[in-house]
Symmetry: C2
Subunit: 260 residues, 2 copies
Amino acid sequence: MAPSAVSAAQLGLAEELADAAGAVIRPYFRQKIAVDDKADASPVTIADREAEQAMRALIEARFPADGIFGEEFGSVRADSEWVWVLDPIDGTKSFISGIPLFGTLIALLHRGRPVLGIIDQPISHERWRGVAGRQSTHNGEPIRARPCPDLAAASLFATAPDMFRGADADAFARLKSRVKLTRHGGDCYAYGLVASGFIDCVVEASLKPYDYCAMVAIIEGAGGVFTDWQGQPLGLGSDGRVLAAGDRRVHAAALTLLAG
Amino acid sequence: MAPSAVSAAQLGLAEELADAAGAVIRPYFRQKIAVDDKADASPVTIADREAEQAMRALIEARFPADGIFGEEFGSVRADSEWVWVLDPIDGTKSFISGIPLFGTLIALLHRGRPVLGIIDQPISHERWRGVAGRQSTHNGEPIRARPCPDLAAASLFATAPDMFRGADADAFARLKSRVKLTRHGGDCYAYGLVASGFIDCVVEASLKPYDYCAMVAIIEGAGGVFTDWQGQPLGLGSDGRVLAAGDRRVHAAALTLLAG
């Protein structure tokens, strides 16, 4: 089998899903819409729900045998060979605050392995795309992660300090104490910028599969490394702790520090 | 004297300064440019320096008697009746990471009181403008801060948790424990979104006058409140602790919590 089993039809659908989600989301941005609290106290809006519904309808119409796992409407046909993993708005807190760093995340998994990923920012009209075995792109242009020889020269991003609890907070503090610069608030956008070569490292915890599966092919196809905190490949069964780095030397050093 | 002593010529120059800074900054965004460390370990680039030089040259040509206080090149004629306070790139860490939330900040002070302010984001082409006694605008459209009855319903932004040290960190933690949602990473953009009615509160510390003077007229002209942590008006002599809120009930409650 070729490095990527992704077909042109699947790739076309992935782009259509991103287009459809963006078309739903854009008219709601910076409008006074209701914000509901989910069971985990995270916010959700009509834009999240309608964008996921639009994507699910397209998948059902085009590839009705494929599985779907979405943030807002759960899982169907989870044991299918192909499963689409969807986050209509990653970064809903940014979205409701008027900050255009949120994104629609679309991943396609083949037998549990993420082989296609899209990060789409519908306000700035930026789209990162990764396909296993191919070079990643940003708005269609090939991208490469940048070299960074060691942690002392690295920039580190994590969406929020509160995502690290207990021993995870200690691990993050160890890493933060060794890098050049730490920033918060990036959401999925920070992963795109690792692939584009402007950020060196993203470390997060307490994530769900729809928060990270889309980034796997994007980061790897730009020459970066994206694993869990044990250095293992990411998939539906990962524990929600992730480490992305543009340079494998930074990834290796960060892994060691996170392990304690 | 009218509420605002700002002349059409001064307002025109302020807009020209923002245009000039943006023209300098845009070509450097997401380019591989050198990042130098300043004495305080904060980063600076050729884009910061050239943007401030462009603005200073325009002021010197048009209003040679006015004072200028800029982040990168210091102060001249500080005792003038009118003083321009400039931050060519507020959020240089965002700028060098490829994140379009940084901004050019331009303030005009009349006898020490900020009477004109601009926040300009040159990548998303967004400009907030405030003039004492007039309604603030975002890209020319009038804006209003939103009502928020109490802290429990409020969103709180601060660029970085590390900006709070010692007792300031305790004060921020008290406030954070009482709001609905806390986010980091906003830079000047978060203040613009308070004026536009999408964020309720920004609390920061360790700031310099060029980090906050531009926001005074913008927040006040949108119906919000922007003071130091004692509730006093902001100016060149403030201590770098600031509190912006869209609703004065949130401002009052936050002041009390910050005081301990």
